[in-house]
Amino acid sequence: MVSQQEQSLTPTEHDPLQQWSQSEYKYGFYTDIETETVPPGLNEDVIRLISAKKQEPQWLLDWRLKAYHHWLTMTEPQWPNLHYPPIDYQAISYYSAPKIKKQPQSLDEVDPELLRTYEKLGIPLHEREILAGVAVDAVFDSVSVATTFKGKLAEQGIIFCSISEAVHQYPDLVREYLGSVVPYSDNFFATLNSAVFTDGSFVYVPRGVRCPMELSTYFRINAMATGQFERTLIVAEAGSFVSYLEGCTAPMRDENQLHAAVVELLALDDATIKYSTIQNWYPGDKEGKGGIYNFVTKRGKCQGRNSHISWTQVETGSAITWKYPSCILQGDGSVGEFYSVALTNHYQQADTGTKMIHIGRDTSSTIVSKGISAGFGQNTYRGQVKILKAAENARNYTQCDSMLMGEQCGAHTFPYIEVKNSTARMEHEATTSKIGEDQLFYCNQRGISNEDAVNMIVNGFCREVLRELPMEFAVEAQKLLEVSLEGSVG
């Protein structure tokens, strides 16, 4: 968010990350903010400091340190189809919290360009204030809204709080499940996250409870303001249901450059978790300067029989996106789903997809991926479907469509399929299309302008994914796609 001023990187010369922070200067938001920031660099002391600041129990500190030492032995993955200058991990400050946040006092003080975007997204004025971090009643309102909801949830035994809070209030639950789906040693970015994560969400839905509302980070604006290493953990006990919405429908112009989050989902017998994301972090400018490097590990474990995990994502932001929300289908009859729209415009790059690991019998998975590339954008789908030996009667359907707009962009597809049980049924469909001059002319001939025609064609292309989103979210996702593509077709 623009209103956050703490700087999490110490700029070095020729660092592209620095350029982004400089571009923020011109909006005049980086001024006299008192932040509590540890010096750049990562070492044991820094981790001890983070843990101490958060008054964490010893076991969590030990876990962080274990992750850190493991991380030191790892190297950044080179296999993604992404190109960016090396990240200097010692130039990053791993803990930064504002002591006193100087917030804009009214919308007049907020970047007009940001306001125009909110307007285009059709976000009500009241919400715009919240999103821009204006220090008015709105913020307090949202706190009270959150409190009201919390009360309602608590009646049913549902826990929804920040992970820091959970560490103190529900230590046994956190200790039992943290790292149970994404172990601390999982991969370079997840391991880094395990060592330094600052906050995130914790959700626990007890046995047989159907969560009566969509849980959204939207209502926890304050938590969003915390660091770039979030960690989210959702546990759905047997027979429960929860739908979780991540991210904001408005452009979250996060000032953080490197974003390495971890999300763990655990579904027990007959439980269902729906996890929806709209990711719209700052993508960099039209020349490819700046933007968020988004390296995220998301994984769900369908541990119980007939459990069900569904990922839906609309990825329009970030300069670089690296994420593969995955499902481990361990319980017999469990179901995994992945619905994705990834849009890259200007110089954005996305390498995203999923992994479906079939372990149990009668497991099934569905993958629907829609990639849209415009400008110089590069869009890669990377997906793995693995049917293990014990997975009798496994079923997978994969559909992977790419749409190109213009001559300079690219679409790439890397499907990996590994089948060790001959009863498996697999389907894979892939298409690549261009928004055709024919389609545009046809729309024009019916009176529809180029811009409206492009939006219509793109929304039609993404329909199978958008309809998986809760209604209000879908409408906003649609508008977001429109804003992201603005001006991409003459």
């Binding site: 024009n444 529809i448 302008s449 929304n459």
Partner: protein, 254 residues
């Protein structure tokens, strides 16, 4: 006589350096049905595309006026808003976009251009339901993605249906009969005939006389090698059916 609805004066157009239209002159009044007939490659479809404003074709000379507006200066979407409709020879598919949604966007774009209020989904549906009957289609058709998986006949019926909904001043039918069996041809022609009226004109482009048995024109023009070489009444179509285009083609270039 009233002012012409469409007036084409000495229209020349080319594509990739080849001159296709070599001086077309044509005047159409409201209420009239004109047919342009000609062999393959004579420039029939090019004329339709140029009128609709396709960028692929470069207009090198001439003028086109429609209702006092210089058509060639307008974007394709503005021409549509002024009241020009092209029934495509090959209608495109737009996956994931329902016919209803597409048409509503089109109708509202035109209404906006004319300074009218946009219709909401309910009003819109009311208005278009009756038009479905014109082309013998049921409501389910509205929820199907535009032209996706449609048969050739359904695509052409969809074009006529759109025409009925958009109520153009001038409708250009580009080989609407191609690829249709006799039943589909009759349905399409009936739809067109019911849309005929004093405040509307048609330009029916076809290779074969067959369509003109059903859509009876007031005027027939023979297009050969980018020029109208002869104009006459509906009897001219029958003459062409008997003797073909050979006589005219032989005369070209003389």
């Amino acid at each position: 006589m009233s002012n012409p609805l469409l007036e084409i004066r000495d229209l020349h157009a080319r594509v990739e350096g080849h001159e296709i239209l070599k001086g077309i002159n044509l005047t159409i009044h409201s209420g009239e049905v004109h047919s342009i007939m000609g062999p393959n490659g004579s420039g029939k479809s090019t004329l339709a595309q140029v009128l609709a404003g396709r960028e692929t074709y470069e207009v090198t000379a001439g003028e086109v006026w429609m209702e006092g507006k210089n058509l060639l200066e307008l974007d394709p979407e503005e021409r549509a808003c002024v009241g020009l409709f092209l029934a495509f020879q090959y209608p495109v598919e737009i996956p994931g976009v329902s016919t209803q949604y597409f048409l509503k966007a089109a109708v509202n774009a035109v209404r906006k251009y004319r300074g009218q209020d946009e219709l909401d989904a309910v009003d819109f549906l009311e208005r278009i339901k009756e038009k479905l009957a014109l082309v013998d289609m049921d409501e389910r058709f509205l929820n199907r993605a535009l032209n996706e998986g449609f048969s050739g006949g359904e695509k052409k019926r969809n074009e006529v249906f759109q025409m009925a909904v958009l109520e153009p001043r001038l409708a250009v039918l580009d080989e609407t009969d191609s690829g249709l069996d006799i039943d589909a041809l009759r349905i399409v022609a009936d739809g067109v005939n019911r849309l005929r009226g004093a405040d509307r004109a048609f330009l029916v482009i076809t290779h074969y006389q067959r369509l003109l048995n059903y859509i009876v024109p007031d005027f027939v023009h023979v297009l050969i090698d980018g020029r109208i070489v002869r104009s006459g009444g509906k009897e001219l179509a029958l003459e062409l059916e008997q003797h073909g285009y050979a006589n005219y083609e032989a005369g070209v270039g003389v």
